[in-house]
Amino acid sequence: MIPRHLIFAGGVMLLAVFSLGIYAGRMRGRVTQAETRSDSRPVAPPASGPTEPVTLYVAYDEPGTLRVQRSAIALPSARQQRAEEVLRALLEIYLSKNSPHPLARGADLRAVYLVTPGIAVIDVNAAFANGHRSGVLEEELTVASMIQTLNANIPDILRVKILVEGRERETLAGHADLSDFYDAAAVSQLAGQLQ
């Protein structure tokens, strides 16, 4: 015969185990939700590791120009990942509170693919394009700043294609053409006009 106080103690312990299990389950759910929410924001370059100088061509809506901005960010060694990190650094400026060229909430870079010989493919997410402000100059500033930033930091890029969610799209937001490959040299000249 098991003493009554042992049965009582066992019951209390089982109750404590179930309660802790439920609590742990809820905490896990909250962490998952927080991770999902953070997915909609651009991933900032890694803070750790040695930093390298980069040149960003930042669009300013007022007065509609591109300005060169020097920065130092930690960059991986692989060329493709470097291209992605440089563009993410640019997008971080556009998504900041006092952005000189605001992008839509949730706008992000999905990937950059570097294809030989000299072709870069920039893939942005749907929020980037769907929420982009419409207008010839607004769209042109976005496209030129991204391509020229890539030009300035990743050597030997000759042509650039911009995709939205991995697919070709006719225009960014009704004006800037996304159906063709951009000539990197022509965009460099355009960046000169926009400065």
């Binding site: 809506d61 007065p63 509609g64 419409s134 207008g135 010839v136 100059l137 607004e138 042109e140 496209v143 000759l158 042509r159 006719e170 225009t171 009704g174 004006h175 800037a176 053409d177 159906s179 063709d180 490959f181 951009y182 000539d183 990197a184 022509a186 965009v187 000249q189 355009l190 006009q193 926009l194």
Partner: protein, 491 residues
């Protein structure tokens, strides 16, 4: 047809009543028929259809508070078509396109894909009736050509068939208002005190930039354009009797203020295309010899960007870019035409054109210059764009790569942009010249510029101020004129 049946039935029924009443009753159906037709024609709603090879109008019927028209009657003159009724289904085949409608249903199938009408399809006596608001989308799918519909005035344009006009007042003696049309016209002309009315029943006339054209003259102060029930009308307002004459194979109508001198100069023969006799006997409408118009070699294509389902920038809650570009383009047409430059508007209604279509229509017209109008809420003044050519696009013998077709014409485009920029600066309008990845500039085989008009200051609503728009388009026209010789030579 039911009306005819009833009339003749009543005649048969009247016979046994007595022979003496028969002679009077014999004319009753005709009298009633005449009354019905007269009453019907006065109020009958009609829709005008303007196609590339034929123009016609059809009766409109009201059902359940909506306006309907027979679909077969619309498409029959345009191509090979047949229709058949199968129970509640009505199937129409136009060339290779099959459309299937169901009586009482809004959903139809065109080429196997779902299509929603604005109200239910009606099948009446084997005749398929479709709601008028759906015609634009429906015919675009069936006919595979650009379609424009002015729903309020019930005017349907199939293809790029619009006839544009300009009006210029020549302060000669007698005073002459010269109206040039891009295609021959044959309006009904009538006069009444204070105005001369020209009603265009069959011509696809489209409105000028402003519905009222003012001439700053006491004798002919203005002309007003309006359209209704499938017709367009231009009223020339005047304080003196007016005479109208046709010339240039129907492309030009000259309206002169009648004086005793001019009455003697013009023969008093009635004008053939004028079924409505002049109400004012003083107004003599007569053909005159073809006027010696200067040959026009400089031809501009004007493109009001966006349109239809593609509104462009929402400049304000109730102000869309597509509407502003149309207004600017119409004004520019008037300004260029008044400077002797022929124009073609790619879009003169709220119809949608793809970027490829815009380039194709422009290249087919072989203009010296293509001008696309855009509007913006941000910034100030005007931004001029030439093409930023994409990578690649290698020509293959006589075949020019579509994406870089502009390459050979880029110097001419930059020349045009410089000319326009100089004129805008002269008028102290803020201007900036850039290249831009903006289609269809890179596909156009002529000098090609895009003009993005922003407000004169920070207030977006000022973008639609007539004075500002007029100042901008006047500068554009002057700028184009300043380089026309060099553009023509470059071509």
């Amino acid at each position: 047809m039911k009306g005819f049946g009833l009339l003749f039935a009543s005649q048969s029924a009247a016979r046994p009543a007595g022979r003496r009443k028969l002679p009077r009753l014999r004319f009753l159906p005709l009298v009633l028929l005449a009354l019905i037709l007269a009453a019907g024609s006065a109020d009958e709603k009609r829709i005008a259809i303007y196609g590339a090879s034929t123009n016609y109008s059809l009766p409109v019927v009201d059902r359940n508070g909506h306006e309907y028209v027979g679909l077969l009657e619309i498409v029959e003159p345009l191509g090979t078509v047949n229709a058949r009724t199968d129970g509640l289904h009505w199937r129409l085949r136009y060339n290779d396109v099959e459309a299937d409608f169901t009586n009482g249903q809004t959903r139809a199938k065109i080429h196997g894909k779902d299509f929603d009408l604005s109200s239910t399809f009606l099948l009446e006596g084997g005749r398929g009736l479709v709601p008028i608001p759906s015609l634009y989308a429906l015919l675009t799918k069936i006919l595979s050509v650009p379609v424009s519909l002015n729903e309020a005035s019930r005017r349907l344009f199939i293809g790029n068939v619009a006839t544009h006009f300009t009006a210029q007042l020549n302060r000669t003696t007698p005073l002459r208002l010269v109206m040039n049309f891009t295609a021959p016209v044959n309006p009904t002309i009538a006069t009444e005190p204070g105005k001369l009315r020209m009603v265009f029943h069959r011509e696809p006339i489209v409105p000028p930039g402003s519905p009222t054209l003012t001439f700053d003259d006491k004798v002919i102060p203005s002309a007003t354009y309006f359209e209704n029930n499938g017709t367009a009308e231009i009223d020339v307002n005047s304080s003196a009797p007016l005479m109208a004459s046709f010339s240039n194979d129907g492309h030009t109508i000259t309206i002169a203020a009648a004086t005793s001198q001019s009455n003697a100069a013009l023969p008093g023969t009635p004008l053939p295309p004028s079924p409505a006799a002049p109400a004012n006997p003083a107004a003599v409408i007569a053909p005159v010899p073809t006027t010696q118009l200067a040959p026009r070699h400089f031809f501009a294509v004007l493109d009001a960007s966006h349109g239809g389902d593609e509104p462009g920038v929402a400049l304000a809650p109730d102000l869309l870019e597509k509407d502003v570009t149309l207004s600017l383009t119409r004004r520019l047409r008037q300004e260029l035409e008044s400077r002797g430059i022929s124009t073609l508007l790619l879009r003169d209604t709220d119809g949608g054109l793809t970027l490829d279509q815009r380039a194709i229509f422009s290249n087919t017209a072989h203009p010296v210059i293509y001008i696309a109008m855009h509007a913006a809420a941000d910034g100030k003044g005007v931004r001029l764009y030439t093409a930023l050519l994409p990578a690649g696009g290698e020509n293959n013998g006589p075949f020019v790569a579509w994406d870089t077709a502009q390459t050979l014409f880029l110097p001419a485009s930059q020349l045009a942009a410089q000319g326009v920029a100089a004129e805008l600066q002269r008028r102290q309008i803020q201007v900036r010249t850039l290249s831009a990845p903006l289609r269809p500039l890179n596909n156009v085989t002529a000098a090609a510029i895009a003009v993005e008009v922003a407000p004169p200051n920070t207030a977006v609503k000022d973008l639609v101020l007539p004075g500002y728009q007029q100042n901008v388009v006047s500068a554009l026209a002057n700028g184009i004129v300043s380089v026309r010789d060099r553009l023509g030579a470059a071509r």
